[in-house]
């Protein structure tokens, strides 16, 4: 047996998270670890990655009992990690990040040969078939490319055990398929044991041999992946039967009134102009490959990046936009990366959730109306099912999925006229995803215009009334929801793409 974790326990100051977890992994096995948001998956894997010096229980690797009190020890025992929220160094280049901690020797001891590092990193990326701009600082990459950088780095550490914590949460379908090929190849030909965490349950059957389900810090079941259907898994990890299925067909057609959000000739940095009009109560999905310019477009709409063209909201022009002026006018965005551009991690759930709504809704003459703020926050915590339901909790200590819910709740709290959602359910579990979808539909039903960017094609199909196809920074066409399915949508976004 490659890895044998026994009776693993871990507490934070807020209470115990892992209640004696047993977990085994064989050589060459791809082992799925699934569970609801906050079940303790990441915590279990961070324990294995040597992030905690105070865990309880025993860990054996290849039969040898090991103590993993620092990431360095874990790496030395052959454990490589892809963390759920990135651990890259933003100002270093892609090549530097891939080679982080494995500096090739320079001519003298203590010196690094940058050319050798760059060359090796390029080769390592090549070896897993991922193409990346080696000299670009990671800060300038989109989240998908950052994720790919992490993948290359982890795959190049010559690990015996590779932990992947939601690596596909931010990848588009094509990249996912490619990643699965890489995983199979590493497992089959090099005997690497892979632990794979994901909320996309269909993927589990596709790539994994074995699946382990966690709930509330305990293992509830382990078995061959082929023995479970997607609904089986969903029921197991949520722990009850009533899962809100993502509504197959979107709610009633929006009221055919005047468009609420109008985008006219919006052109970002030399890209062709975009025209799009969204009615009150309408959800327009934007589908496209990674790098097709969806996030750029979203940021240009709210005025975070410069662009020519006009935006009209409820018939009124929004000139000289900044994110703040847009928010005041009732146009808000849920950014794509909760850790980097989304949340203030040291601040509490309450502070983060109220950030946008504070000035326009929750204060008078700059003085906060504390009682209303508190009531709003508590109601949103309940509505979004955030765990633990403690408004004072620092957002940085929440599980990834719960942090994501705080981010969406922040936009909803501002009661916007129009909302732009950029990957709103990245890392959210099946149960909560259905809930979030319902809340998005509710906002639309209450008359908001919603622009939904997502790599999850099923999500686009479940929520959108119309789907805009983006290719190379341009809205190529806008298709009605009727008559679209996964395959035709995938074909639409892939055509005309470079490659």
């Amino acid at each position: 047996m490659l890895l044998d974790m026994q009776e693993i326990r871990k507490s934070f100051n807020a209470g115990p998270v892992l209640h004696g977890v047993d977990f085994q992994l064989e050589r060459g096995q791809i082992h799925a670890l699934v569970g609801h948001n906050g079940a303790g998956k990441s915590t279990l894997m961070k324990t294995l990655g040597g992030n905690f010096a105070d865990y309880g229980g025993r860990i054996r690797i290849d039969g040898e009992e090991v103590v993993l009190h620092s990431p360095k020890q874990a790496l030395a025992k052959g454990v490589a990690m892809i963390y759920q929220d990135f651990s890259l160094i933003p100002d270093l280049s892609v090549a530097d990040n891939i080679g982080l901690g494995r500096d090739p020797r320079g001519k003298l001891p203590g010196l690094i040969s940058h050319s050798a590092l760059r060359k090796r990193s390029a080769e390592e990326a090549e070896a897993v078939g991922i193409r990346l701009p080696m000299d670009t600082p990671v800060r300038q990459l989109g989240v998908a490319e950052q994720q790919l950088t992490e993948i290359v780095r982890a795959c190049s550490q010559n690990a015996r055990i590779l932990v992947m914590d939601e690596p596909t949460a931010r990848l588009a379908p094509a990249e996912r398929e490619h990643l699965f090929d890489v995983m199979r190849q590493m497992a089959r030909s090099r005997g690497v044991g892979i632990i794979y965490i994901s909320h996309f349950l269909e993927e589990i059957r596709q790539v994994c041999d074995v699946v382990t389900v966690m709930r509330d810090g305990r293992i509830v079941e382990t078995g061959a992946a082929s023995a479970y259907s997607v609904p089986d898994l969903a029921r197991l990890l949520v722990g009850h039967d009533d899962i809100v299925a993502a509504t197959a067909n979107a709610t009633a057609r929006p009221s055919s009134g005047k468009p609420l959000l109008e985008i006219e000739g919006l052109a970002v940095a030399g890209r062709p102009p975009v025209d799009l009009a969204i009615g009150a109560g309408e959800i327009v999905g934007i589908a496209g490959l990674i790098g097709s310019g969806r996030t750029r477009l979203a940021r240009a709409i709210i005025g975070d990046v410069a662009a020519s063209g006009r935006i009209r909201l409820a018939g009124r022009d929004l000139p000289r936009r900044t994110p703040q002026r847009s928010a005041d006018a009732g146009l808000v965005m849920v950014p794509e990366d909760r850790k980097v551009s989304g949340l203030a991690l040291a601040s509490s759930i309450e502070e983060n959730m109220a950030a946008t709504a504070l000035a326009p809704r929750l204060s008078r003459f700059g003085i906060i109306r504390a009682r209303e703020k508190r009531a709003l926050v508590e109601s949103l915590i309940a509505k979004f099912g955030i765990r633990p339901p403690d408004r004072k909790r620092a957002v940085g200590t929440l599980s990834g999925g719960n942090a994501q819910k705080v981010l969406v709740a922040r936009a909803v709290a501002a009661r916007p006229k129009a909302m732009i959602l950029d990957q709103p359910t990245a890392g959210v579990d099946v149960g909560a995803k259905g809930e979030l979808h319902k809340l998005v539909e509710l906002s639309a039903a209450e008359g908001a215009a919603i622009l939904l960017i997502s790599d999850d094609l099923d999500e686009i199909l479940a929520l959108s009334h119309r789907v805009a196809i983006m290719v190379g920074g341009r809205v190529k066409e806008v298709l009605p929801r009727e008559g679209l399915d996964r395959a035709s949508l995938l074909a639409a976004i892939s055509q005309g793409a470079p490659e």
């Binding site: 105070d54 940021r299 709210i302 989304g342 949340l343 983060n352 000035a359 204060s363 504390a370 200590t397």
Partner: protein, 326 residues
């Protein structure tokens, strides 16, 4: 915290689960120190001495309140000393040549102005706080030395010293001003949208911007307040010396940063409470006072201050790492 098999070999110094050092341990240390000093240091436990400690440290406490705001915002201000000296010189000159109210108002306006300029360069031009405030510090000091030919300004009426040395009942006037500034800072952070925005901007600037917060305005206003508080401190300083001394206050920036940091506020921004800054100020002040009474050479004081910073912040960071290891 559950004791686990992997742990049994080692025993560690830990606080009970859930008790963050910054909330109570600093207060406990402060209380213990005061008690120890009361028992061991002659003349320490007299009201005259306490009043003396309060009076001496109120000025730096006022500065520390402003510094706290800037540190929560993720920055700091090296120009507070220059601003303090400049305001006291300007106030002295204007009090002598024009009138007392005008002198005070003009001095505060000067502090606010320099702060706003700091904020403008940091927010709008994008120079980092270190460079910006270092530059304004040198600039303000330079202009002040040119304007005064490096000579102190004399002639402030004796009555003005009430502001620096007077008492209301048993409480020194500067301490009352310090308390007012501290309460104001607390209220800003707790009750105003601006205060809440300071935390969010300090925690994640990009996120704050995308959430619709006017980051530039928050930044400029924060540095403006920092400058204003340094101006208030400068006027109180004039009340203590009665001389507009261009060469004073050079140690303010670092002492104020030290007070805030000892108060458990990390320089990384996004968190911090007024209580920490106040307690940090008093802790450093009490230690200096005890050394003084014990007849230790004043040259030792910086060394002791340095050691206190390392120990206090060291315990804090150690606890934080233990409790919040990712």
């Amino acid at each position: 915290m559950s004791l686990s098999r992997a742990d049994t070999g080692r025993r560690r110094l830990t606080l009970p689960a859930g008790v963050a050092w910054s909330n109570y341990a600093l207060l406990a240390i402060f209380v213990v120190l005061v008690v120890v000093f009361c028992l061991t240091v002659p003349y320490f436990a007299t009201w005259a001495n306490f009043a003396n400690v309060l009076q001496r440290n109120s000025v730096i406490g006022i500065v520390a309140c402003g510094m706290l705001l800037m540190i929560i915002l993720g920055g700091f201000d090296l120009s507070v000393g220059a601003v303090g000296a400049a305001t006291s010189v300007v106030a002295a000159a204007l009090i002598v040549h024009v009138s007392m109210p005008f002198g005070i108002v003009a001095a505060l306006a000067l502090g606010l102005g320099v702060g706003l300029i700091n904020g403008f360069f940091i927010a709008k031009i994008g120079i980092n706080p270190f460079v910006t405030t270092l530059a304004t510090q040198v600039l303000v000091t330079g202009i002040m030395f040119v304007g005064t030919a490096a000579q102190p300004v004399y002639g402030v009426p004796e009555s003005f010293t009430w502001l620096g040395l007077g008492r209301i009942g048993p409480i020194p006037v500067p301490t009352i001003i310090f308390a007012a500034v501290a309460i104001l800072t607390w209220a800003i952070l707790r009750f105003t949208t601006f205060g809440h925005h300071v935390y969010i901007v300090g925690g994640n600037k990009l996120a704050a911007r995308l959430a619709g917060i006017n980051v530039d305005r928050v930044t400029i206003l924060t540095y403006g307040l920092g400058g204003l508080f340094a101006g208030i401190a400068g006027v109180v300083l004039l009340g203590q010396t009665n001389i507009g001394q261009p060469a004073s206050a050079a140690d303010w920036p670092l002492t104020a940063i030290a007070a805030v940091v000892v108060g458990g506020v990390p320089l990384s921004g996004g968190v911090g409470k007024v209580g920490g800054a106040v307690l940090g100020t008093l802790l450093l002040g009490v230690i200096a006072n005890a050394l003084n009474l014990l007849g230790v050479s004043p040259f030792w004081q910086p060394a002791v201050t340095g050691a206190v910073i390392l120990v206090a912040v060291g315990i804090d960071s150690y606890q934080r790492r233990r409790l919040e290891r990712r």
